[in-house]
């Protein structure tokens, strides 16, 4: 069996003892090494802070159930992102089902109660980043998070999202353009407010 890497992005992951092969992986090891990555990915994919605990917990329950099937043929981060992505989508669907359309839209469009449209110009840092990410389509958002925030390579993204490599590049280009456009709109609004 091929050896796998448990190392996340440089200077981001809490490194754990790295077993030699996938069959030696234990879920608590995976949790210690990659909970930051899963948490960050779920947050970047649109899960609100009030729900992030539930989503991450659900991800690691799935990980524990499916860990025996992981054969180490891909990077474990790729595998974890696939699980996270499915759990997040299920979470969003559940939100849409359980609440009225208007409530869900409002919540999805307005991640923090304080981040109303009128206060957008005062956002900074991570909150502004999440707000701009919310303006991207889900498909573009996923590739943008993996390429720009997680700095994954094109083939890894293709594997994580089950896409052709050419599609990944095309989506990354469109996502960058959409993000730049959203940022320009924000800057213009900021200039008008000032």
């Amino acid at each position: 069996m091929r050896s796998i890497s448990l190392v996340g992005a440089p200077n981001r992951e809490a490194r754990a003892a790295e077993p030699a092969c996938a069959s030696e992986l234990r879920v608590d090891q995976v949790y210690e090494a990659h909970v930051d990555f899963v948490w960050r990915s779920a947050r970047s994919l649109g899960v609100r802070e009030m729900n992030i605990d539930d989503v991450v917990q659900e991800v690691f329950v799935v990980v524990q159930r499916r860990l025996a099937e992981f054969e180490g043929r891909s990077d474990i981060k790729t595998w974890l992102f696939g699980i996270t992505r499915r759990v997040v989508r299920a979470h969003v669907r559940q939100l849409i089902r359980s609440r009225s359309q208007t409530e869900t839209s409002a919540e999805l469009a307005d991640p923090n109660a304080a981040c109303a449209e009128s206060q957008l110009s005062t956002l900074e840092g991570a909150r502004l980043l999440y707000t701009l990410l919310d303006e991207l389509e889900p498909d573009l958002r996923e590739v943008f998070v993996l390429s720009e925030l997680e700095e994954m390579s094109g083939p890894s993204i293709a594997e994580a999202l089950d896409l052709e490599l050419s599609n990944v590049y095309a989506r990354v280009r469109r996502a960058r353009m959409a993000f730049d456009a959203a940022l320009r709109r924000y800057r213009a609004k900021q200039a008008r407010t000032a």
Binding site: V35, W39, R40, R43, S44, D53, Q64, A68, L129, F179
Partner: protein, 382 residues
């Protein structure tokens, strides 16, 4: 690939430095999550990854041995239908001829059969039974003057009193089917075999070969071309009066041949009797083709009902989706006009009046006299 603007890059760098949310959960959040997850992990213990112990090997061996023993004792291939079994499903006249053929087979030595290489056990095979009857029916093909044992030699007669080596026309010469006398008393030497036997038995094996149509057609044309005209005339004459009364039991035999699933892998020459090719006509093949199931009205009603509900709930987009699904599943359904009318209504609700007018004109072009037309027109204002 286009790059991110410097402003966007600065924003991401700034967010990663400032925003704790981007770095991951805090220590407190991490501990809380771990506390929640530990009992869940314990409750859902992972399956053993590798089954390599001695107990596993032993259990596997026992299971395999059990399957082998069961396979050797319980499973038996379905017995092939014997000639007698086939004859029990035929009309009395055909069964009688078939019984006579079986008797002649049992009496004749194996070396004098028309297919000497054919195993004796296979003579009771369903196909070979037809072949045997086909051979009896195609006596006209053989040459009574051909040397005994040659490919064109006549098969032994059922009476066993004739001599294949005798000259044609002599008292001991074997009788060809084409030379039989229809007016001769039944049971006499020159009596023709019953017509039902030839027709039904020749028609039955046409369903047996499950081959590609073009290959079947090719072999059929070859077989027909190889027959001599008198034989063809006699066979068609024999099968003609039976066509009106035969289809039911012919279809039954063909069905049992098609779905019996016990047909052995016999050589191609055995599978396609030459006499069977004569009556393998396209009209008769239609007998066993099953009509496709009619489209379900319930399914149509369900979809259109859901679309109607969506329209009433002011959700025309949802209604259009359901109507498209209806058009995909039931393109020629019974409720096409209703679907088109509802499509027009949904398009009107979406302020797509031009598309609604197109749908309405299509509906009118179908010559529809539906009561829905004026209602749709009034609602859409078209």
């Amino acid at each position: 690939m286009s790059e991110l603007s410097p402003d966007a890059r600065d924003l991401i760098a700034q967010a990663q430095k400032q925003g704790p949310e981007l770095l991951g959960p805090s220590a407190e959040q991490r501990a809380r999550l771990r506390e929640k997850l530990t009992p869940l992990w314990a409750a859902e213990a992972p399956k053993p990854p590798a089954r390599s112990g001695l107990r596993w090997k032993l259990a596997t061996a026992v299971v395999i041995a059990g399957i082998s023993v069961w396979g050797a004792t319980a499973w038996r291939p379905e017995p092939e239908p014997t000639l007698r079994a086939v004859s029990s499903r035929l009309p009395p006249a055909a069964a009688k001829t078939l019984t006579a053929a079986e008797a002649s087979e049992s009496q004749s030595p194996s070396g004098s059969e028309s297919a000497p290489s054919q195993p004796k056990a296979a003579a009771h095979d369903r196909n070979v039974a037809y072949d045997a009857e086909g051979a009896c029916s195609s006596h006209a093909e053989c040459d009574p003057n051909a040397p005994h044992g040659s490919a064109r030699a006549c098969p032994p007669c059922a009476t066993a009193a004739c001599d294949p080596m005798a000259s044609a026309g002599s008292a001991r010469a074997c009788l060809a089917s084409s030379a039989c006398d229809p007016n001769a008393p039944r049971g006499s030497a020159r009596a023709c075999p019953p017509r039902g036997a030839a027709a039904s038995l020749a028609a039955a094996p046409r369903k047996v070969p499950a081959r590609r149509p073009e290959r079947a057609a090719a072999s059929e044309s070859l077989a027909v071309a190889s027959l001599r005209a008198p034989a063809r005339a006699s066979m068609e004459q024999a099968s003609e009066p039976e066509k009106a009364s035969e289809p039911e039991h012919v279809a039954r035999i063909a069905h049992s041949a098609d779905y019996g699933g016990t047909r052995p892998a016999t050589p191609r020459a055995e599978r396609v009797p030459r006499t069977a090719a004569i009556v393998r006509t396209p009209e008769r093949r239609v007998d066993t083709v099953q009509d496709p199931a009619p489209p379900s009205l319930d399914g149509e009603l369900e979809l259109l009902g859901a679309a109607q509900t969506a329209l009433q709930k002011q959700r025309p987009s949802r209604a259009l989706t359901l109507l498209q699904e209806h058009a995909f599943r039931f393109p020629t359904g019974s409720l096409v006009e209703e679907r088109m009318a509802m499509q027009a209504l949904a398009l009107c609700a979406l302020q797509r009046r031009h598309a609604a007018a197109t749908v309405l004109s299509n509906l009118e072009a179908r010559g529809s006299k539906s009561q829905l037309l004026p209602r749709v027109r009034s609602q859409c204002g078209l």
